[in-house]
Amino acid sequence: MTADSGPVPRQGGAPDVSQATLFGELLEDSADDLYEHAPCGYLSTLLDGQIVKINKTLLGWLGHTREQLVGRRRFSDLLTVGGRLYHETHFAPLLRMQGELGGVALEMRTAEGTRLPVMVTSVLKTDDAGRPLLIRTTVFDARDRRAYERELLRARQEAERDRERLKRLVATLQRSLLPPVLPRVPGMEIAAHYHIASPDQVGGDFYDVFPLGDDRWGVFLGDVCGKGAGAAALTSLTRYTLRAAAAHDPAPLKVLRTLNTVLRQEYTDDEMRFCTVIFGLVVPDGDGFAVTLASGGHPPALLLRADGGARYLQTPEGLLIGVLAEARFSAVETRLGPGDTLLLYTDGLTEARTGDGGRYGDEALLAFAGGLAPITPPAVVAATAELLGTFGAGLDDDTALLALGVPARSADQV
């Protein structure tokens, strides 16, 4: 500011007489003048919307003369058609019901046909008995604000589209980590289920069943640490290593040792990656199959017998795979006869939170599956998938289920 730029108010203290006079002169504008030239539009209408009074500011914005509007047009006539629909279905009824309405975004049409984005506030003026008389409306120019809001809206829509894209990508990637169809193994029934905890992130559970030649079959199910892209890469590496190792030598302990070595080579100690896997070699044996299972830190498989018995196949020494250079894993052998079913699962199932705040746990699973035995692979997978559904938000991890079994002889069936 320059020194000669007009009257300089006195610093501090009470206003003196000359200042009061100065303010009085500046405030010469009457209420009328304030109404006409206020920095916002004023509009009064009858209850049917007919314009009875409008200030110069709003007339200026709209490019209309007073004569064109007063007594001739309704407020809603000044709106865009979409705005008019909104006015009739929301604005007018709400105003009538609650007597006032603020901050509504509408667009007005100017005499030239351009659009003027505005924010509108209306109150219903009533007589002493509370009967509505007329509607008073203030109109604010909202061009800048609406442009900004449109930016926000566009950003939100873009974010929603990105999220959809991410979901599709995740679903595709997830599918690529699971076998599209399980192979047909003569004399064996197989069923699987995969529960995805989050549509935004690739989970770390996996399973597969594949032929090894000479009528032998490899089976595995596991869980890699973490989620997202890193977990997907680790899952991919783990799957292909397991398949390649088994093609070379299908002894389950050797397969897990090879995987351990590969993970140790691939990842340094600083970015250690590990997983749990249960790997099985399945070989026909009379009217059933001989199964050798080796586990690296994975929850034990559940054996459901044709006679209704149920027990875990413990593999006590198995360590997480990818942690120690000299890892020890343990194996267990069993035989699946007609009517027997073997259930493999990841810890999403046993670690699910239950209503009482605890975890579902091994014992509950044993009791649940024990109550179902004898049961076919598709039936136990369906029942367990249904159980997963009952956990609701308590199930926050991906969960894979894989069941193998030998169909019961028809004479065994009740």
Partner: protein
């Protein structure tokens, strides 16, 4: 879930009176009838409800597939009638609900005693054969934009409060605009269903005695549309109220209630 809970059904008025079912249109909820209910309740059994997605209906019952056609809403109306065991009720539908009533009455003609279609429009979009609904498809897109820019106090954070505790007085101040507050996603679907449906060919199938009520000035359903509806429905009658706007039950409650009353009480 029971239909009467799902649709927040409220029954008032004379227990032995003819049942009169009042169905609100797009935009707000059953509160829109508040100025005509006292007069109607003196003589009739008045049944009020909120369409699923509006007012205090059960939002969890809302599915985009079911409520993307007016048939979904018509099914709800029939379910309410069955559940309350209403004896040949008079269905009064405002705006889009008039077409919902038409569809319900075609589906089960014996269910209803009479129909009142308040400011109805069977089709809002003009067509090439000279039908004037008053709007173009672009206008409807503009309305959707208005919906997007006006949440009327709706926010994701508020939603559970609005839905879960409608009657807690300490939340009263939060409930400004609540009569017309809808989840924006639901509002968008209902707007499309409302303004893009075409029920012109259904009108001739109505066999229930019908009264068409329109307003002298209505930006949404102009008098030509009311006359079209009256001409298409066999044996219907038309009353044009000396009222302005699309909601005569608010802007002219007395003459609206009178028109409904004399038709309900009059001979079929």
């Amino acid at each position: 879930m029971r239909a009467s809970e799902r649709n927040n059904v409220i029954v008032t008025g004379r227990e032995d009176g003819t049942p009169v079912m009042l169905a609100h249109g797009f935009g707000c909820d059953q509160n829109l009838w508040r100025l005509v209910v006292p007069a109607l309740a003196e003589r009739f059994r008045v049944v009020l409800f909120d369409h699923v997605g509006a007012g205090r209906s059960d939002m969890s019952a809302w599915h985009p597939e079911r409520y993307s056609t007016l048939d979904g809403y018509a099914d709800d109306v029939l379910e309410i009638c069955r559940e309350l065991d209403l004896d040949r009720p008079v269905f009064v539908g405002h705006s889009v609900s008039s077409m919902i009533g038409v569809l319900a009455a075609i589906q089960e003609p014996d269910r209803f005693g009479k129909l009142v279609l308040l400011t109805p429009s069977p089709c809002y979009i003009d067509d090439e054969d000279g039908y004037r609904g008053g709007f173009s498809a672009a206008d409807i897109e503009e309305l959707l934009e208005s919906l997007d820019s006006n949440y009327l106090g709706w926010s994701a954070a508020m939603a559970p409060v609005i839905m879960g505790n409608p009657d807690r007085p300490e939340l009263g101040e939060e409930l400004t605009n609540s009569f017309c507050r809808t989840d924006p996603q639901i509002a968008r679907v209902f707007a499309r269903t409302t303004f893009l449906s075409d029920n012109r060919t259904d009108l001739a199938k109505v066999t229930v005695p019908t009264l068409v009520v329109d307003c002298a000035v209505d930006a949404i359903a102009p008098p030509e549309v009311g006359a079209f509806v009256n001409a298409q429905i066999p044996g219907s009658r038309l009353v044009t109220l000396d009222a302005v706007g699309h909601c005569p039950q608010l802007s002219a409650p007395q003459i609206t209630a009178e028109a409904i009353t004399s038709f309900v009480a009059g001979p079929g």
